[in-house]
């Protein structure tokens, strides 16, 4: 994986494979829940007398859009994972490209998807006020950016402490210290960031079912990406 082009190609392909896997997962599991939420939303708007009229994009097309969107998700995060891999591979002490790839995929997936989910969990349709969408997007992506900054901070701590540690003759101090700083930073970030401002006025069972499926989908995505990247990288190494 010495050439950047080969690396990014393998990373994007791995992302697309993960996108296919998650599309199948969500078409099977998330779509019925989304349908249920939309029916509820329609009932509510009928009851309040507000008419949505015919939607511009039909539900059938939105299901195609689910797959299009998730493939795009795969290509985008595959590409960004490739960039992260190139930046981080020097810092990961693992013998094989497969293990390094899995480690970086875990770090990226945690930082940009799983950890932000714990603060701002996914909601089904029928939750979410259109008037607050810009605020919620700023909160969410601000959180993602700060989550990535925490990773950079931990790496910086490790790099600064490592030579000091060698001078003092204390072995293996930089890693737990970096981890400690990272955990402290994440805890502060989690506590200090404002919560999602929207009320959740949908039955809790529906919301938590959707959140469970959504979280499992994200975990599946990053796991498949890691495995696919490892296989592709190994094949290229032997080619």
């Amino acid at each position: 994986m010495s050439s950047l082009g080969a690396l990014l190609k393998a990373a994007v392909l791995a992302g697309l494979i993960a996108g296919v896997a998650v599309s199948i997962f969500h078409l099977t599991l998330a779509e019925p829940v989304i349908e249920q939420a939309i029916r509820l939303e329609e009932q509510r708007s009928r009851a309040s007398g507000a008419s949505h009229g015919e939607p511009l994009v039909s539900r059938a097309v939105q299901k195609v859009g689910l797959v299009v969107g998730l493939l795009l998700y795969g290509a985008i995060w595959g590409l960004l994972f490739g960039v992260a891999y190139r930046l981080l591979e020097r810092h990961v002490e693992a013998a094989s490209v497969a293990v390094r790839g899995a480690f970086v995929a875990g770090l990226v997936g945690w930082s940009v998807a799983l950890f932000p989910f714990l603060k701002y969990p996914a909601n089904p349709p029928a939750v979410g006020d259109p008037a607050t969408i810009a605020d919620r997007q700023a909160l969410y992506f601000g959180f993602v950016a700060l989550s990535i900054a925490g990773l950079a901070l931990a790496l910086a701590v490790r790099r600064i402490v490592a030579p000091v540690k060698a001078q003092l003759g204390i072995e293996r101090l930089s890693r737990p210290l970096a981890l400690g700083v990272y955990m402290l930073y994440l805890s502060a970030l989690y506590v200090l960031m404002p919560a999602n401002p929207d009320p959740v006025e949908v039955p809790a069972g529906l919301v938590w079912t959707f959140r469970g499926i959504s979280f499992a989908g994200l975990a599946l995505f990053w796991a498949v990406l890691a495995v696919a990247f490892a296989r592709l990288a190994r094949e290229r190494a032997h080619a």
Binding site: L4, H26, I34, L56, Q62, L72, L80, A122, S214
Partner: protein, 67 residues
């Protein structure tokens, strides 16, 4: 398999380019509320919000803010 490589100048530009492409894609997938298509459709794009409607289900399942 030389993995410890100082990125060369061209490498760095390509890396930044790849990052920007990813960021742009993320904007279209996760954030756009009509701006992208307003370039072609004019102001009506903000009301129609076609990209949002198309990738609506993906935004919800991926945990991106939506409604």
């Amino acid at each position: 398999m030389a993995h410890v490589q100082t990125p060369k100048e061209g490498h760095r530009a390509a890396l930044i380019g790849a990052f920007l492409l990813g960021a742009l894609g993320l904007y279209v997938l996760a954030l756009d509320q009509g701006f992208v298509l307003s370039v072609f459709q004019g102001d009506i794009a903000f009301d129609m919000n076609l990209l949002h409607e198309l990738v609506h289900d993906a935004r919800h399942t991926a945990g991106f803010p939506c409604h």
